[in-house]
């Protein structure tokens, strides 16, 4: 964040100004700063989580509504982005819990047994097909996807992601690795389904190894 949330009361939380609640004008200033600074990042994260634009915007709106209601709880201006992202992830997690609808087979379930089959190696040709990336993400287990996105989209280190998620570093490392392996398989699944005629760069199973 390149500017202070609190104008002339830099480093002092507005709630401290009168010892009680934050003034409306202060709250609005902070909120507007949060929107301008982080809305695009939050939308990007939500879109990659959900895989569709309308749902992503709804989720971002929910997160910002929550932020507006509880902006007083943001004590550290520099933590605004992390705070918003935590709100968004929690609302997404709540949705996941609430949704009892059936999903398709999860890659986590059918791909974690890595000792039983060769581990697919990286295949950059498949990643080059951008339209397949979201299809593959949509099929990834939600918990693997969340961790993967924190690291590869949000740019958190695995240690930071572990702190955010409240998980041990080893768990995060394992999830990231499993997500990558699963995504390779999923990208191949998508490519097999698309099986676009005339495509010359389709990779063969097994990749480089």
């Amino acid at each position: 964040m390149g500017h202070s949330y609190y104008g002339t009361r830099c480093h002092r939380h507005p709630a401290e100004a009168d010892g009680h609640s934050m003034r409306s004008s202060d709250a609005r200033t902070i909120f507007e700063s949060l929107v301008r600074a982080h809305a695009a990042d939050l939308y990007r994260f939500a879109f990659r989580l959900l895989g569709e634009a309308q749902g992503a915007e709804d989720l971002v709106q929910e997160a910002y509504h929550h932020a507006w209601r509880s902006v007083e709880s943001l004590r550290d201006p520099a933590a605004g982005r992390a705070w918003l992202l935590t709100i968004l992830r929690r609302r997404w997690s709540r949705r996941l819990r609430d949704e009892s609808r059936r999903r398709g087979p999860r890659l986590e379930e059918r791909d974690v047994d890595q000792s039983a089959s060769p581990l697919p190696g990286p295949d950059i040709d498949l990643l080059a097909r951008r339209e397949w990336v979201q299809d593959a993400l949509n099929r990834l287990d939600p918990r693997l996807k969340e961790t993967f996105l924190l690291v590869f989209l949000e740019g958190l280190s695995c240690r930071e992601a572990a702190e955010r998620l409240g998980s041990p570093l080893g768990t995060v490392l394992s999830r990231v690795h499993r997500a990558r392996v699963a995504l390779r398989v999923l990208l191949r699944d998508v490519s097999d389904e698309e099986d676009a005629p005339g495509m010359t760069t389709r990779a063969l199973p097994g990749g480089r190894s």
Binding site: F31, E32, Y43, R44, Q54, D58, W68, P118, L127, L153
Partner: protein, 263 residues
């Protein structure tokens, strides 16, 4: 099959590659890779490249126009008290759909649907066509996704208390999935289909639930009273046995070519 050692190394390399470049665990891994042979060096480089490509690709998301303005308007509302949770456009769409259902239910309850003309109950067909059209124009989450009719029907079996039948379309429509929907107090099966770029919504219902007689001819109904700003879309209605179906598509002209069960 890959040797167990190699599997373990690949896993360790995969985990280390996700760490920052100056992380001690990653640096240790890099030092060990040289001793593992050319395959490990190639794999390590590929892992790093793959990571960079993911970072690049994941960031390619286009933000919708006006998002920031819509979010800024949130601050025009009250703060610190419970705001209505019905905020997102999807929820508004659901509210609109719910309002429509209430209206249609009231229509049936008040006997508006019991005005048969020449035995075809056109009022009922109008209500059903209107519902089908609005359902088609709204965004709905599919409870069961899939292209295989039998599998989707099986997935919905516990939610819908009648036998689900998906037609065999001669027009080459491809099933995307389905969900339970309710019209008034009566459950119906909602499914979406696609033919090329044209999306279709199909609703299966029990004729008796809506006071419709069996043997409805294949009919195209244009809903009256479509919501403001919405273009009217034709709805193809037909029946078979005790069930009726209503099909609506983005392109009404496409309906003419649709021949369920060759009728």
């Amino acid at each position: 099959m890959m040797p167990p050692d190699q599997v373990a190394w690949r896993r360790a390399m995969g985990e280390a590659a996700a760490l920052p470049a100056d992380d001690s665990q990653r640096l240790r891994m890099q030092a060990e890779i040289a001793g593992l042979g050319p395959w490990a060096e190639a794999e390590w480089l590929a892992l790093l490249e793959e990571g960079e490509r993911w970072r690049l690709e994941l960031g390619r998301v286009t933000q919708p126009d006006g998002l920031e303005d819509r979010l800024l308007r949130i601050a025009e509302g009250p703060r610190g008290i419970g705001l209505p949770r019905i905020l997102g456009t999807r929820r508004l769409a659901w509210m609109a759909a719910a309002a429509l259902l209430v209206a249609v239910s009231a229509w049936f309850a008040l006997g508006g649907a019991r005005a048969p003309e020449d035995g075809r109950h056109p009022a009922n067909l109008q209500a059903i066509a209107l519902l089908a059209m609005n359902d088609h124009l709204d965004t709905h989450t599919l409870e069961v996704k899939g292209e295989v009719p039998g599998e989707v029907a099986s997935g919905l079996r516990d939610r819908i208390p009648f036998e689900i039948e998906f037609p065999e379309f001669e027009g080459g429509l491809r099933l995307e999935g389905g969900r339970r929907c309710t019209l008034g107090s009566h459950p119906v099966c909602f499914s979406t289909w696609r033919k090329g770029d044209v999306r279709f919504t199909l609703i299966q219902l029990r004729l008796a639930d809506f006071d419709l007689p069996p043997g409805l001819p294949r009919t195209i109904v244009t809903p009256k009273g479509a919501a403001a700003g919405r273009r009217p879309l034709d709805v193809l209605v037909w029946s078979k046995g005790e069930f009726g179906w209503a099909l609506v598509g983005d392109d009404s002209s496409a309906l003419v070519a649709i021949r369920p069960w060759g009728r």
